[in-house]
Symmetry: C2
Subunit: 155 residues, 2 copies
């Protein structure tokens, strides 16, 4: 009888003190589940991330999206094209700087984004059950602060 396929053992000696490998592994597992949950919408994770940022920063530019997600501007164009084609995002020229686009979610976009978040986060049950409520809240808070620190640190 083999070791009864349980959860993998993480080597604290090799991973000690580092966020990167943990986020990679957690993201890989979460992604494979979320990809299936998002399939009915026909939109990528990148699209959901972009919609999330647009919802939080109305009239933002595509370069802002690119910087915040660590993507190239051309990739953002591809994503936004699809969102606009499906009437989930409205794109117009900025009045202040006519090089820029001003992005905002349409009402349909808001509804779709929320449905996608609901579908994606339904896969989170095991994590929520493994942590007690106080720990879970702190986990969310720490993820936010780590993200913001990283985003603020661009050169």
């Amino acid at each position: 009888m083999r070791p009864a396929a349980g959860s993998p053992r993480l080597d604290r000696g090799l991973l000690s003190g580092h966020v990167g490998p943990r986020v990679r592994l957690l993201r890989n597992l979460l992604m494979s589940r979320v990809t299936a949950a998002l399939a009915p919408f026909g939109l990528s994770h990148g699209a959901l991330s972009a919609m999330t940022l647009i919802a939080a920063n109305a009239h933002c530019s595509q370069m802002q999206i690119a910087r915040d997600l660590g993507m190239e501007k051309s990739a953002v164009t591809t994503i936004v094209d699809e969102l606009v084609r499906r009437r989930l995002v409205a794109r117009s020229r900025s009045a202040e700087d006519r090089r820029r686009n001003a992005l905002s979610l349409t009402p349909k976009g808001e509804r779709t984004m929320q449905a996608m978040h609901a579908a994606a986060t339904a896969e989170e049950g095991p994590m929520e059950r493994a942590l007690d409520p106080g720990e879970f809240d702190q986990f969310l808070s720490l993820l936010d602060r780590a993200y913001e620190a990283l985003a603020a640190a661009r050169l």
Copy 2:
């Protein structure tokens, strides 16, 4: 003067209570920095993840890697082929079950993995500086527990 490209504003109303979007955003930002740091090694993130699991679970099979990373077995074959070709991983048939491969890191593989971790995690400075030591340790612990809960929850 525009809003002086600071960190993006995350909308707590839309993201409230969910790990997924936060991990996606954090991972996107971390990835784009780590990709550059890992470029000199000529190996992918998947390869580093695989090496990390092999280091922690000597003589594991490729199916174990696939399950733990949420990848398909054929993708694991591709990754392991490259690691074997570069003498970073030793692959032999399992004695107990001759369908399986038994994977382990070579000494060169151990050194390379540690160098890759060092290069990758050098990008983590901003996160470490944003959290005080106790918070940072708890962050690592919560990431581990979230991962383990998710990995244990496969059907």
